[in-house]
């Protein structure tokens, strides 16, 4: 397979995965079992988050209109699960429309964070689909950590993807800086930075931090503001950038693992 052909297949796998998680695995990489697992995991967690929030998580997004026609429902980071999000926006009604307040729902905070996490997971599944195509083109992983696994591991813990590819210094470097930035941001914001209902745009960036952000959200979510902390803006900036930087680290882990694979093939 030539370079441009391979790039086209990788691009198709990513596009299909972002349309519906797992579709890239099934259609392009011919990994039906992995694709179905990804589909069930992402959509199952998304459905659970909708149930926990009584559909109120969709109140954080909005419809894009052309005249009076609804074109697209926009919500970050769930937009990476395109079909799931559009179906939910069409068919799920928020509890607020029924006259109830979502504050009454006991699992609301977990639902808000889990819903965002499914968007990030969907992006990671797309990276894994691209990696599956690459590995197949190179005739197997040759015992190396695949690019998709390295990217997924980064969302589990920043630096873990680099650790798995044998880059110990970079793993500790990234992990230390990003977790430090996240913790410092939380302290600056008086541990009230993660409030998706109050700061939905900041949370789109914060959620990219993956599992550490999800755990931090669950730990501090019950803590809501009674007064505005002096350094809240700084805390929001720090925690949001910790999430955005995690995305950069995941891209680096992916391309370093890809480079290792190409070197081993030559």
């Amino acid at each position: 397979m030539t370079g441009p052909e391979l790039r086209a297949r990788v691009g198709t796998a990513v596009a299909l995965s972002l349309l519906l998680p797992g579709l890239g695995h099934i259609w392009v990489a011919r990994r039906t079992r992995a694709g179905l697992l990804a589909l069930l995991l992402v959509e199952g967690l998304f459905a659970a988050s909708l149930a926990m929030t009584g559909g109120a998580v969709l109140d954080l997004g909005f419809w894009l209109h052309l005249g009076r026609t609804r074109l697209l429902f926009l919500q970050l980071p769930e937009f990476a699960n395109f079909v799931g999000l559009q179906c939910a926006a069409l068919f799920v009604q928020s509890v607020e429309m029924g006259g109830r307040s979502p504050v009454e729902l006991p699992w609301r905070d977990l639902g808000y964070s889990l819903s965002a996490f499914t968007g990030v997971l969907s992006g990671a599944v797309a990276a894994h689909a691209a990696s599956s195509v690459l590995v197949a083109a190179h005739g197997g992983s040759r015992g190396l950590t695949t690019p998709g696994r390295a990217a997924l591991a980064t969302f589990l813990l920043p630096g873990l993807g680099h650790w798995l590819t044998g880059r110990r210094f970079k793993a500790l470097w990234f992990g230390g800086w990003l977790l430090g930035l996240l913790c410092l941001g939380l302290a600056l914001g008086d541990f009230a930075d993660f409030d998706r209902a109050r700061h939905p745009y900041y949370f789109a960036g914060q959620a990219l931090g993956g599992v550490p952000t999800l755990l931090a959200y669950l730990l501090v979510a019950p803590r809501h503001l009674t007064s505005v902390p002096v350094f809240l803006d700084h805390g929001l900036l720090y925690t949001t950038c910790a999430g955005l930087f995690t995305m950069i680290v995941a891209i680096d882990a992916y391309r370093r693992a890809e480079s290792d694979l190409e070197k081993a093939t030559r």
């Binding site: 990234f174 800086w177 990003l178 002096v230 700084h234 950038c241 930087f245 370093r256």
Partner: protein, 67 residues
Amino acid sequence: MPTLFQHALLLFVFSASLGATISAFRDEEPRAILRGTVRRGLLFAATVAAFGLLGLLLESQFLRPDS
């Protein structure tokens, strides 16, 4: 309201983390990463500080109602 020193400290920490992430993204060797972190961090902090200074000057010279 945070003091100027607190702002400077927060800018320094943020610039260092930005420099650290970008340098490790671009380079592989620990020495190059450390050097790049210092260079990029200082460059970013100096640029933001320059914009801040420009804003202060504009505010004091032109944007006050009594100026």
